[in-house]
């Protein structure tokens, strides 16, 4: 199996069978907080795709060429966090300066995901699963896309929920968590699609 094919499979499995949100339960906080409207959920999703893919790649390079040679793998948590935070800050500045429209669409979400566990989690999985650079690209992009898929579907469900009579105690985050659980169950159905991963 060529590296490209395996990267595609990793990407596909990150979207469906191993969805970072619904099977690994990472990035729940914005998932619940920002899933009220499809439009904002979509913007948040785009921001996550972009940040996840790029930070995975950068973290891969930092890990492979800085931490491994000096035997400093145990420092990966702190190093990844620093790199992610600095990168998001940097991207925010660049967008602010050169693309006000994109900044308007993504800018307000960027600070929110700086410290999102899905971002750090993705980088750590990349290490644990021993991906190559190309596989990392597939993994980062797939994980982001899977996250977006989950939050956009949640926003769609929640917009329908406006018409439903939810028991008072379950309104808001309560019903959202229950729906997330049911969605996760549905995603378990994908498990058989790909053996392994």
């Amino acid at each position: 199996m060529s590296e490209i094919t395996s990267a595609l499979i990793i990407c596909f499995s990150a979207i469906f069978t191993g969805n970072i949100l619904l099977t690994l339960f990472l990035g729940m906080c914005p998932f619940i907080a920002i899933s009220r409207e499809i439009k904002t959920a979509f913007g948040m999703g785009l921001a996550v795709i972009f940040v996840l893919t790029s930070t995975c790649i950068i973290d891969f390079l930092v890990y492979r060429y800085l931490l491994v040679p000096y035997d400093l793998e145990m420092l990966r948590f702190i190093v990844f966090i620093i790199v992610i935070a600095a990168f998001v800050q940097f991207v925010e500045m660049v967008l602010d300066r050169y693309s006000p429209t994109l900044y308007q669409a993504l800018g307000i979400f960027l600070p929110l995901i700086t410290v999102n566990c899905a971002i750090l989690g993705a980088s750590l999985f990349m290490v644990v699963r021993d991906y190559t650079l190309i596989q990392t690209v597939g993994w980062g992009f797939g994980a982001g896309l899977g996250w977006m898929l989950a939050i956009v579907s949640m926003a769609g469900l929640r917009s329908r929920l406006n018409a439903a009579r939810v028991p008072k105690a379950l309104q808001g985050p309560g019903i959202t968590l229950i729906i997330a659980g049911i969605m996760a169950l549905a995603f378990v159905g994908f498990t058989g699609v790909l053996a392994g991963r």
Partner: protein
């Protein structure tokens, strides 16, 4: 783990952190450096050169153009609306809920949410351009009634205010014992606009009011205060129609200012001034009004007492101020009315005046909120 390994790990993490910090600092210096931009106000009336990157509100304030704002730039009060002709960038999600479809069409924006990135052209109402912040000294405090005082301020910096009679200023109230917030409250100017470097305000004590309590209990002659202004659209029109003034309490202030102006400009318009008070204890400035009657041949002052039984010796008009208006005004069809006072009094007066045949477009008022 030996010392060398520890040193290397510290070096690597420290170096990485430093490199990233440096990257951000450099990026901020070069990427977020918008250079000098020009803010054009009212098609060339004012041209501000400043460094981009701040909000439009901050940019204008830094150049001493005061746009009203109450929320500190968080985009929640919607007072800082400014018409931006171009250069504003896309509408932010924060602004949407505060702008009507007409405002959106005209390019109205919340200036605290608009970032100045490029040259920008804005339109600001004339009167806001004249607004300045003043340092002043309390020159005299005069008790007018048991709950109304007149404050006379000497303007220190800037030394003079150019205002239209009928306009108001905002008095600054700092934090003091029992008050945790800094506030501004609006008071109409009551003095003669020809008197340079001085303004007078008439302040009525509002029980529990932050600003009035401060002034009544903590401000004395010789104290330094801050105010900004002038604001407001309440002023005499330029025509020969007879005038009906109606006021109560500290609503006296803008009317008195207008009367000074009429004297200064030898305005001969027929004018009648109904002043409503509960009892004779609430009447004040009767001598000033007599003086105006002497100087303005066609001016008459009509104080109206609502509770004559508590006002021994009163021989003038009695009842509600609106009843006196109904008794005296015969020329409402051609007159103009200027009202200043409580919302209740103003609403009642408008009703009566319209009943007498005055059209709404000739009734001007300054409502105490």
């Amino acid at each position: 783990m030996d010392m060398a390994a520890i040193a290397v790990s510290i070096l690597i993490v420290g170096g990485l952190g430093a490199a990233l910090a440096l990257l951000l600092v450099v990026a901020e210096r070069y990427i977020l450096n918008y250079g000098e931009v020009t803010v054009d106000v009212n098609a060339g009336e004012r041209e501000l050169k400043l460094n981009g990157g701040t909000s439009l509100l901050e940019a204008l304030t830094s150049q001493k153009i005061f746009i009203p704002s109450a929320c500190g730039g968080r985009g929640t009060c919607a007072y800082c609306k400014v018409k931006v002709l171009d250069g504003a960038g896309p509408l932010t999600p924060t602004e949407g809920p505060y702008l009507s479809p007409e405002e959106l069409k005209e390019g109205v924006r919340l200036s605290c949410q608009v970032k100045v990135r490029t040259d920008i052209r804005v339109e600001i109402p004339r009167d806001l351009l004249a607004v300045q912040e003043y340092q002043a000294t309390v020159e005299r405090v005069r008790e007018l009634t048991y709950d109304i005082k007149e404050y006379r301020f000497r303007l220190d910096d800037p030394p003079d205010m150019d205002y239209i009679p009928g306009q108001y200023v905002q008095l600054f109230t700092p934090r003091y014992k029992g008050n945790k917030e800094e506030v501004y409250r609006a008071y109409s100017i009551s003095s003669d606009s020809q008197e340079k470097g001085v303004i007078e305000l008439i302040v009525r004590l509002v029980p529990g009011g932050i600003c009035t309590t401060y002034y009544f209990e903590h401000v004395n002659e010789g104290d330094r205060i801050r105010l900004n202004g002038p604001y407001g659209e309440f002023h005499l029109t330029d025509n020969d129609r007879p005038i009906i003034f109606i006021a109560g309490g500290s609503g006296m202030a803008p009317i008195k200012c207008m009367l000074h102006h009429m004297v200064n400009t030898q305005n001969a318009r027929p004018a009648i001034y109904f002043f409503g008070a509960n009892t004779t204890r609430d009447l004040f400035m009767l001598d000033d009004m007599k003086a105006f009657e002497a100087k303005l041949p066609n001016f008459r002052f009509v104080p109206v007492i609502a509770r004559p039984d508590e006002s021994p010796g009163w021989e003038g008009e009695t009842g509600l101020v609106t009843q006196a208006v109904e008794r005296h005004v015969t020329n409402a069809g051609e007159a103009e009315a200027y009202l200043c006072g409580s919302p209740g009094m103003i609403d009642a007066s408008i009703k009566v005046l319209e009943g007498l045949g005055l059209t709404a477009d000739r009734i001007f008022y300054d409502k105490f909120a």
